[in-house]
Symmetry: C2
Subunit: 97 residues, 2 copies
């Protein structure tokens, strides 16, 4: 649990990686489509994708020469749970201020 | 917006810092109370607190010799908004899979 949260939060602490998530939330996309809007070399971009794949939030499948990525929302749901839990405790405590 | 999310997600990508948030969600606490459960030198712990203060999620007030920390939930609400937005898009798209 702890290390999953570490890797998820670390993965989200980068604007390129959040942009990939924002694109994939709308639907699966190829690596080249995901890379196109980013002014960086493909190997650099691939390292960002790898960080996202390591958290489990992005998965990819290769068919022929095209690698297509999609979102697996499970880690997102888990992190939302942690944040919502903190907020819940904060909002319901008696000495709030 | 982008850089706020960067600093918040970066701050949360560490178990010591998340433990501080979990404690402060229950109520304000002094630096020494927050430090007590963590097996690290005070200066190391203070650097973690500084990272949290830089995101705005932790604020502190010094009275005499005691510095008391509390949560400001605004950054938490903002990040929850970003995550919920991604999830919302994902859950409502037509080609979901």
């Amino acid at each position: 649990m702890t290390s999953k949260l570490d890797t998820f939060f670390g993965a989200m602490a980068d604007p390129t990686r959040r942009a990939v998530i924002e694109t994939l939330a709308r639907g699966p996309a190829s690596v080249s489509t995901l890379h196109a809007p980013h002014a960086m070399a493909l190997p650099t971009f691939m390292r960002h994708l790898k960080v996202l794949e390591e958290t489990g939030i992005v998965r990819s499948v290769k068919k022929g020469r095209v690698r297509t990525c999609h979102i697996d929302p499970a880690p997102l749901v888990e992190v939302q749970g942690w944040l919502a839990w903190q907020r819940e405790i904060w909002e319901h405590r008696s000495d709030r201020g």
